[in-house]
């Protein structure tokens, strides 16, 4: 190991950490007035880190990836792909945030700084090849998330969301850490390769306990059933841009982390965790679909929608193959675009006095007053429901194909059946927007930044997104192959 190459491989995290520290100083000395410039600089830093990650991803010299700091961190196509998704999602959210806090005047420069540190933690999560790196990255991103959840101090719901998230998140971290300590105790190592080697000889009872605890802790972080109870409450209470953040970037990071943990260190024991993942996938799909039906609040509804989507993504993991991992990465890209777009559309709904509107009844007849917004939201909903010409269908299709190829036909069949239930409430939103009597609550126009994010995500999930699938397929194949490189 040389320090030069180590720092080169971890440069995205180093760039972001240093910018975070510098911007924190700006925030401390220039105060609240600097919020706008700090946001712009944060977006620039994330963009820079993203460009560098893309360079690591595309440069043939790094095609095989490389270990940094004697094997606690691994730079490879998988980590780089997930990191680009995370950075893009964070940039999108930073672009639409300021308008939301305008009405309460609570926007402060610490907000983008916390997001940057969260992005550092998420980058570490997806690149971790050591349980310690995994845990530190997870805690860094979780701690920033707890603070962001209760960021709107004048709103009691926001404080409640932050506290709930913190208490339950701490419990999940404890479960995860306990599992990791068992794995360490019974395999004698914290790095993935040694754990893989130790587990290849067979799974002792202690290792099995550790594996189950680790999976349970991670299932909490990706809000898979049966560890999903916090999701609707936290998503409803947190400020909407923060909710959009929770549903995109940390979820990508946690799912990527789960993929690497399941397929690298526990890769020799696929049969041990497959039934857990299958149960969790099916339960998430069903609970997400049924739970969303009665919801009147759009944010709560989208929370159940994200639980539902996590279920579909886990089907790819249950396959346990390289094709399954690739399918998960494809689905993740579309999931991020759809979720981000839906939340940005919800963010742009405000009444005449600039207050946020977030119930289903308020958007009745939206198509009459706001044609563009209603169209974009309808495209998102159709895509989330998996209606064919849109890219949400493509994501579901590749995941189900991977499951069928891995002889999990029953799982795929139940998943497809449950996705029909899910389609009900997505289509209900479209129906309310297009065919109900106008409620006339929503007024005013969205700002330019929100429109840019909404238009880009809509184009990505529209049939035009097929033009990008060549690159996307290429990247996800390489990323999935990087995951199976060690095995």
């Amino acid at each position: 190991m040389s320090y030069a190459s180590s720092f080169y491989f971890t440069l995205p995290e180093v760039i972001l950490s240093l910018s975070g520290l510098a911007l924190l100083m700006v925030a401390a000395f220039a105060g609240k007035a600097s919020a706008r410039i700090v946001t712009i600089l944060s977006v620039a830093a994330l963009f820079g880190a993203g460009i560098f990650t893309a360079h690591l991803l595309s440069d043939p010299a790094f095609a095989l990836g490389g270990d940094a700091f004697s094997g606690v961190y691994r730079m490879d196509a998988f980590g780089s792909y997930a990191k680009i998704l995370i950075y893009l999602a964070t940039i999108g959210i930073l672009m639409v945030t300021q308008r939301y806090f305008d009405s309460t005047g609570e926007y402060r420069p610490e907000y983008p700084v916390l997001m940057i540190f969260g992005a550092v933690g998420m980058g570490m999560m997806v690149s971790a090849v050591d349980l310690m790196t995994l845990y530190l990255g997870l805690e860094l991103s979780s701690l920033s998330s707890y603070v962001l959840a209760s960021y709107a101090r004048s709103d009691g719901r926001s404080a409640e969301a932050g506290l709930k998230y913190f208490v339950l998140g701490a419990l999940a971290s404890g479960i995860l850490l306990y599992g990791m300590s068992l794995v360490y105790g019974f395999t004698g190592a914290t790095d993935y390769l040694s754990i893989l080697a130790a587990m290849s000889d067979g799974l002792s009872g202690g290792m099995l306990f550790g594996l189950v605890f680790v999976l349970a802790g991670l299932a909490f972080k990706i809000s898979a059933v049966p560890f999903h109870m916090w999701t609707p409450d936290v998503y409803e209470g947190a400020p909407t841009p923060v909710t959009a953040f929770f549903a995109t970037a940390p979820k990508v990071a946690a799912i990527a982390l789960l993929m690497r943990v399941a397929l690298d260190p526990f890769g020799a024991q696929v049969d041990a965790w497959r039934q857990i993942v299958i149960f969790s996938a099916l339960a998430s799909i069903v609970v997400g679909a049924l739970g969303a039906i009665g919801q009147a609040n759009l944010k709560r509804l989208l929370a159940y929608s994200s639980i539902n989507n996590v279920g579909f993504i886990l089907i790819g993991l249950a396959a346990g193959t390289q094709a399954g991992a690739g399918a998960m990465l494809v689905y993740l890209a579309f999931y991020v675009a759809m979720t981000l777009g839906s939340f940005v559309a919800v963010l742009m709904l405000r009444d005449g006095e600039g207050r946020q509107v977030e119930t289903l009844a308020d958007i009745a007849g939206l198509s009459r007053s706001h044609k563009g917004l209603a169209l974009c939201l309808a495209v998102m909903m159709f895509s989330l429901a998996g209606i064919p010409p849109l890219m949400g269908f493509w994501g579901k299709f590749v995941v189900f194909r991977a499951a069928v190829d891995a002889d999990l036909i029953l799982l795929a069949a139940v998943g497809i059946a449950a996705s029909v239930i899910g389609a009900f409430y997505y289509l209900k939103i479209v129906k309310v927007m297009y065919f109900d009597e106008p409620a006339g609550v929503v007024a005013g126009k969205g700002d330019a930044a929100s429109w840019v994010v909404l238009a880009l995500t809509t184009l990505f999930v529209s049939p035009l997104g097929f033009l990008l699938t060549i690159w996307l397929g290429n990247w996800t194949n390489r990323a999935a192959a990087a995951l199976f490189f060690a095995a």
Binding site: S6, T10, S17, G20, L21, L24, K32, A68, F69, S70, V72, Y73, R108, E110, V113, L114, F117, V120, G121, M124, M132, T133, L136, G137, E139, L140, L143, S144, Y146, V147, S150, Y151, R153, G162, G188, A189, S194
Partner: protein, 206 residues
């Protein structure tokens, strides 16, 4: 032999005092049991030859617990007169705990003199380098292999601190009950009062 004896004594006491921490009704007692648990944990560390960790445990944790103790005393409404009332009754227990600590001290030193307890064959990164002290080994790992993680831990602490400040700090202008004396002195009767002569049968119009 003496190591095994000391190990079981320390281990039993760690568990017993940990149980007492959660079962004690009085928070002050809980804190005292916690200190006992840390001391015994430190004893276990001495036994396996990790003196530095043992010292850290005593200095950092017991020190921190002393501060925590102060917080508990400040925040909870505890009647100290009532606490002292049971002094004579609890005297034997106190003496017993003190004797146990004394015995541990003697045993611990004796066991340490007899050499570290061999729990297993150290291997991999866990093995101490020959001829190096604890501190050197830890330093070499912490600032070498685990440099990246060490720095990240620093950032996590920074985020925790920023978060605490972001969520609780309020700008000074929102403080209530702030008295502006010059403004009060500048105020004249004619600014503050009005003379009215309401006609009979009608109310005052302000």
């Amino acid at each position: 032999m003496i190591q095994t004896l000391a190990f079981y004594l320390f281990a039993v006491l760690v568990i017993a005092s940990a149980v007492m921490v959660i079962t004690a009704r009085n928070p002050v007692h809980s804190v005292l049991w916690l200190i006992l648990a840390f001391f015994n944990g430190a004893g276990l560390m001495v036994l396996v030859g990790a003196e530095f960790i043992a010292m850290l445990l005593v200095i950092v944790y017991v020190g921190a617990v002393a501060v925590l103790f102060l917080f508990v005393v400040m925040m909870l409404d505890i009647d100290f007169a009532e606490l002292r009332a049971g002094f004579v009754k609890n005297f034997p227990l106190g003496i017993a705990v003190a004797l146990v600590l004394l015995a541990e001290l003697v045993l611990g030193i004796g066991a340490y003199q007899a050499g570290a307890l061999q729990l297993g064959e150290p291997s991999g990164v866990g093995a101490p380098r020959m001829g190096e002290s604890n501190i050197e080994s830890i330093g070499a790992l912490l600032y070498g292999k685990y440099l990246f993680l060490f720095e990240t831990a620093g950032i996590i602490l920074l985020v925790a601190m920023v978060g605490a400040i972001v969520l609780t700090h309020r700008p000074p202008k929102t403080q209530r009950g702030h008295q502006n004396i010059s403004k009060q002195n500048q105020r004249r009767p004619q600014d503050a009062t009005v003379m009215k002569q309401p006609p009979v049968g009608q109310g005052v119009e302000l």
